[in-house]
């Protein structure tokens, strides 16, 4: 909400010389956050210019710029035309525009100087409303008659070179505040002024307290035909509708300059007298109005719900199919004039030059009904923004009166004495009972009962004593957000000042700190980083094309991914099912930026939509029953924690100290093992074939009971190529939740033997298709309890063996818990191991 300071000063007493900054600070203290300060930050020369020449020049970048000669009178000191480059196209030779000359300053302390651009020296700039900080329009530069109205420009007699700063109100300040959704009344000067008064104690004059002509029986017929529908809890769509008529207005008259200026300052564009007056009243009192051309109305105003199949072309020129929940303004019930509280249609609109008699609608609509229509039709408007946050239903008639007064005064019409006020409000909320000690118990500041009553009265509530320390509080019409005791507590706390709240550290009951899983993830991350890997966080969004790039088969379960209804990019509408679907991008980015030796890891959840369930949405304010809660929980897809690794370049860096060694799949297997070792979980390895890995260079890691932990491998050469990764990039992905669960129980140790160790080497010839790990497992199984460890220390293939044979050299270490082993014992154990390998794999000792 943009708050022009001089307008604010009309409703609340501002100290002499107060700055926008001070006003903003006072509003922040009561909860209206500062969004910006405007005005006072444009420094001249900002002058009227007349475009004399306009030469479009296409540029290499596809843009076309205009090289212009602009008459700026004598303001440039020479009287010669200024040469200016302008990127906008919404103007013609002869137009009056706003020109800032070198030496001027635009908002944001943007200094203007003559500069060389597009092959010209551009001596200044032709400005847009955005650049001047007076609006958000992107439609190009300001053409003054369009912005200010032709009449007004003529009246002012604007000539090239004239100072525009006072004309555009740029010497005056505007405070822009953010209005939170509970404070709809602050979308008006009336509301903001009241808050300023609460913050500072300055005297406040309610602009809605004007003499209002009483309603009569012979006013324009209005029928509130909606008694409420179950979808909206039976709340009537409209419970108050004031219709006022002004006859004989000349709508071609110019809106008075002061009103135009205020509208501009508040961020609205002046359009025509009737529209400007309705907008002005909306900004002043927060009540959206609609003006109809009385002559075109074909019967009584009927406010009703839409019927399925009805359509309306709204003023933004979109033909809309209406929903039975939409509330409509119709005349005679059949012709639709407006989507109530949201936007009007073509019928019934006021046309300057034609319309002489105007019917002003000032109504109160159900906030939820307006909110839903606005959302349903993706149609947000200044009116809808206010109605859905709650408009003061007590101000309906005063707003209509103010509009009538302004139309009579500036349009030359006469107010019709027949006045409709269809008022069918029922008290939906009783007063709120408040224990006067509650603010103190809730906030921790000692508020006396007198202070509580004083503040609640100050903000407009009616306070009644109920005795025994309880008061009855009836909130004012503009505060539909005050619904229960805590909302009143907030009023007490904020008006008294949040800065008075002391700081007390609560004594928590003491908890369990981090869970095992949280600690485990930290350890794993630390271990990987300690081995040279960098932790990164990638976005979880992927597209199907990524599954193709990774070579996932058509029926691969990893293609079953959760789909977003409104993804940021249609290329990536899915939630990843593995981290390796997104982590390689980070590797590629590093390589493209010149890093060569890069090992990355990511720890995050993946989303596995293993079941299609619908989560109920049972609404606010009550605990759903256990069955519904369980349904909600069950519908949330599984999201296990994973860790993934991807690496390229050198594992052992080369440099002046010597040669390096490229990273390969064995490094990644070792890192994967270090993850499990960090958590003390033994793993098994099973040769595997699985996308996205090289079919001959991939291993599955499992727990000892066979539960899959993950896969490690070199990426398939095709995958490497499709993802643009360095050759031989290797990767791993492990399910951390499996490892965390497997490490939950404390390790139980075996006592260490201090007796000497005996070692024995064996070389076994087996077919090359035999897996190292299988031979090792056979040796372990055969050697029995005395075997302490076994390691594969050499693999030989070559001339001394048949082409399909390999020789595996193992070293076995033996130790007994209670004695020194004899040579015979060691040999017997070794022979048993070899015999087992021979039996299992046909291994022959070499």
């Amino acid at each position: 909400m943009r708050v022009p300071v001089d307008w604010l000063g009309e409703y609340v007493e501002l100290p002499a010389g107060v700055t926008g900054e001070q006003i903003a600070a006072a509003l922040v203290a009561v909860g209206l956050e500062e969004e910006g300060l405007h005005g006072g930050d444009v420094a001249g020369p900002l002058v009227v210019g007349r475009v004399l020449e306009k030469h479009p020049e296409p540029q290499k970048n596809g843009k076309t710029i205009n090289w212009c000669q602009v008459d700026v009178g004598d303001s440039n000191g020479t009287g010669e035309p200024q040469g200016i480059v302008c990127g906008a196209h919404n103007f013609e030779v002869g137009d009056l525009v706003a020109v800032i000359l070198p030496g001027g300053v635009l908002p944001g302390n943007f200094q203007i100087s003559a500069r060389k651009t597009y092959g010209h020296v551009s001596a200044g700039m032709i400005c847009s409303v955005r650049e001047l900080g007076i609006g958000e329009d992107h439609d190009g530069i300001i053409v003054l008659p369009r912005l200010l109205g032709e009449h007004h420009v003529e009246e002012l007699g604007l000539q090239p070179g004239d100072d525009l700063i006072p004309v555009l109100g740029l010497d005056r300040e505007v405070v822009e505040v953010n209005v939170t959704p509970d404070r709809g009344y602050c979308f008006s000067l009336r509301g903001v002024a009241r808050e300023y008064s609460h913050s500072t104690g300055a005297a406040y004059t309610d602009p809605a307290l004007i003499p209002v002509d009483p309603a009569t029986q012979d006013g324009y017929a209005v029928e509130l035909a909606d008694a409420g529908i179950p979808e909206l809890d039976g709340v009537p769509g409209c419970d108050r509708y004031v219709a006022r008529i002004v006859r004989g207005i000349d709508l071609t008259r110019e809106t008075p300059e002061w009103m135009q200026r205020r509208l501009l300052e508040a961020g609205m564009r002046p359009i025509s007298l009737a529209v400007d007056v309705t907008n002005y009243v909306m900004l002043a009192l927060g009540q959206p109005l609609h003006a109809f051309d009385l002559a075109t109305l074909q019967g009584p105003i009927v406010v009703r719900r839409a019927v399925a199949g009805e359509r309306l072309r709204t003023l933004d020129d979109v033909d809309r199919v209406l929903d039975p929940e939409d509330l409509l303004i119709t005349d005679s019930g059949t012709r639709i004039l407006a989507l109530a509280g949201v936007m009007g249609g073509e019928d019934g609109e006021v046309t300057p030059g034609q319309t002489t008699d105007v019917l002003i609608e000032s109504a109160h609509f159900d906030p939820r009904s307006v909110a839903r229509s606005s959302r349903r039709h993706r149609l947000s408007s200044e009116a809808a923004k206010r109605f859905e946050r709650g408009v003061d239903p007590d101000v309906t008639d005063a707003a209509a009166q103010l509009a009538v007064n302004l139309l009579v005064e500036h349009g030359g019409g006469t107010a019709d004495p027949a006045i409709t006020d269809a008022d069918q409000r029922v008290a939906t909320r009783g007063p709120i009972e408040l224990d006067v000690t509650m603010p103190t118990r809730y906030v921790g500041v000692d508020y006396t009962p007198e202070r509580v009553r004083e503040i609640l009265t100050m903000i407009g509530c009616e306070v009644r004593e109920l005795g025994q320390g309880t008061i009855s509080v009836t909130p004012p019409g503009w505060r539909p957000d005050l619904t229960d005791a805590p909302t009143l507590v907030e009023e007490v706390a904020r008006v008294d000042g949040y800065d008075k709240i002391p700081s007390v550290v609560p004594r928590a009951i003491g908890g369990r700190g981090l869970t095992h899983g949280q600690r485990a993830r930290r350890r794993v991350a630390g271990a990987l980083a300690g081995q040279g890997l960098h932790e990164v966080l990638t976005y979880p969004f992927v597209g199907e094309s990524r599954f193709d790039e990774l070579g996932l088969a058509a029926d691969d379960v990893r293609r079953t991914a959760l789909r977003l209804a409104n993804p940021l990019s249609d290329e990536a509408p899915l939630m990843r099912t593995e981290l390796l679907q997104t982590l390689p991008e980070a590797l590629r980015r590093n390589i493209s930026r010149g890093s060569r030796d890069v090992a990355l890891f990511e720890i995050d959840t993946v989303t596995l939509p293993d079941h299609a369930a619908q989560a109920p949405v049972p609404g606010v304010g009550a605990r759903p029953d256990d069955a519904v809660l369980q349904q909600i929980r069950d519908a949330v897809p599984g999201q296990p924690w994973h860790v993934a690794v991807v690496a390229a370049g050198q594992a052992d860096r080369s440099g002046w100290w010597g040669k390096g060694r490229p990273v390969d799949v064995t490094d990644v297997v070792a890192w994967a093992h270090s993850v499990a070792d960090t958590l003390g979980v033994p793993l098994r390895r099973v040769q595997a074939e699985r996308a996205p890995f090289h079919p001959g260079r991939c291993v599955e890691l499992t727990l000892e009971d066979g539960t899959t932990v993950g896969f490690v491998g070199e990426l398939h050469p095709k995958v490497v190529q499709r993802l643009g990764l360095p050759d031989r990039t290797s990767a791993a992905e492990l399910d951390l939740d499996v490892l965390v669960a497997a490490s939950e129980r404390p390790t139980q140790v075996r006592p260490l033997s201090t007796h000497p160790m005996a070692s024995s080497d064996v070389a076994l010839v087996v077919p090359r298709s035999t897996r190292y790990g299988d031979v090792e497992a056979s040796l372990r199984a055969g050697a029995g309890e005395l075997l302490e460890s076994v390691e594969l220390f050499d693999v030989y293939v070559g001339d001394q063996l048949a082409a399909d044979q390999q020789s595996l050299a193992f070293r076995m270490h033996f130790r007994a818990p209670d004695r020194t082993l004899t040579t015979e014992e060691v040999n017997a154990a070794r022979d048993a191991a070899v015999a087992r390998a021979a039996k299992d794999h046909g291994a022959v000792q070499r």
Binding site: G444, P486, V505, P506, I509
Partner: protein
């Protein structure tokens, strides 16, 4: 060479003549002194103390002497050989010492360029920042909870008193899961874990929740569609906004240093009432530099939202609001890290450039 001769006079045997022995010793000592390396000394040893050296040969002649002459000749030869061996040993020590020193000089390495053979990797600043924040809460006696990123709409909104038609629900820029009636969203804040924790753990409850959150913002220098929050919720008997402020003060100190306090400003959130925005004291200027770039001269830096937990949130979790009350807060981990480390562009935390990581230690 002379053979054994029983009537041989040693003085008559040339090799055993004192002059000859002296000359041999002198030659030997000269050669030893002249040896400049262990190899030359080895040659000198062979020449003057080896089996074929003049002194060794002289020694052999002794055997042929008559017994009366043997003792005298033996003594003289022994003295001569002793003299030579001593000199050899001394020179050996000298030359070995020289060699040892030379080797140390020769094998010196220039270590002034770091040998980056196995550089250590790094944790990501956001995860470590979130851990640090969580640890600060653990130090206050709180537990650390988690919840799913793909969340039930009810937990993300309704359980937190976001009515379906309330503008606040529309302002969340929510990612919805397809189909639209799935009732699932990407959580827009970590706050659904408030409701989950209340339902699962009951009251009294002191729980902090670090986690990943999502909004449909395009990535730029100050926005990211995927970001992180730290949520806190405390429900007990007698908790007030003063306790909220005390907790925030402690957390601000833990993240930004001693004496850094928090400030509350009125605000609105559906799941708290009263609600507040929280700022922390600018740790650069402490509110004393109107030209401060960190806080823009305001002396305060926006941190997040907070307030007393709305009764409807308690009711949705089956907690009696007449008996229990408490507070909740949530702040951005990105924002916390950006201010702590002077990170000006959000994208640096997103892109995963190892050069960015390498600027930090493992603990930050």
């Amino acid at each position: 060479m002379s053979g054994p001769n029983t009537n041989y006079d040693p003085v008559e045997v040339a090799a055993l003549a004192p002059e000859a022995l002296e000359a041999n010793v002198a030659d030997a000592l000269d050669a030893i002194a002249a040896a400049t390396s262990l190899e030359e000394l080895k040659a000198a040893r062979l020449a003057h103390a080896g089996e074929r050296s003049p002194l060794a040969l002289a020694n052999r002649e002794i055997g042929a002497l008559p017994p009366s002459a043997k003792a005298d000749a033996g003594k003289r030869v022994g003295q001569a050989r002793g003299q030579v061996n001593q000199a050899l040993a001394a020179r050996q020590v000298e030359l070995e010492a020289e060699r040892d020193e030379r080797i140390l000089v020769e094998e010196a390495l220039d270590l002034t360029v770091a040998p980056a053979r196995h550089p250590v990797g790094r944790r990501h600043v956001l995860t470590v920042t979130a851990e640090r924040m969580a640890d600060a809460m653990v130090a206050l006696g709180w537990e650390i909870a988690e919840g799913p990123g793909v969340e039930a709409e009810w937990f993300n909104f309704d359980a937190l008193n976001f009515d379906k038609d309330h503008p606040a629900r529309q302002m969340q820029d929510t990612f919805f899961v397809d189909p639209a009636d799935a009732g699932l969203v990407l959580r827009t804040h970590t706050s659904p874990v408030q409701a989950r924790s209340l339902l699962e753990r009951g009251v009294p409850l002191y729980v902090a929740v670090p986690g990943k959150t999502f909004r449909t913002d395009e990535l730029d220098a100050t926005h990211t569609p995927v970001f992180h929050q730290l949520e806190g919720i405390a429900i007990d008997e007698g908790l007030t906004m003063a306790h909220l402020k005390g907790t925030l003060d402690r957390l601000a100190e833990a993240m930004f240093g001693p004496g850094i306090t928090s400030r509350l400003r009125p605000a609105f959130f559906p799941f708290t009432e009263p609600s507040a925005e929280m700022d922390f004291r600018c740790f650069v200027c402490r509110g004393e530099d109107p030209g401060c770039r960190t806080c823009g001269g305001t002396g305060w830096i926006e941190w997040g939202g907070c307030g007393m937990v709305n009764h409807n949130v308690l009711r949705a979790a089956g907690v009696d609001p007449e008996r229990y009350q408490g507070f909740a807060f949530g702040m951005g981990v990105e924002r916390t890290a950006m201010f702590r480390h002077g990170i000006e562009d959000m994208r640096e935390m997103i892109e995963g450039d190892v050069r960015f990581n390498a600027q930090f230690g493992m603990e930050i």
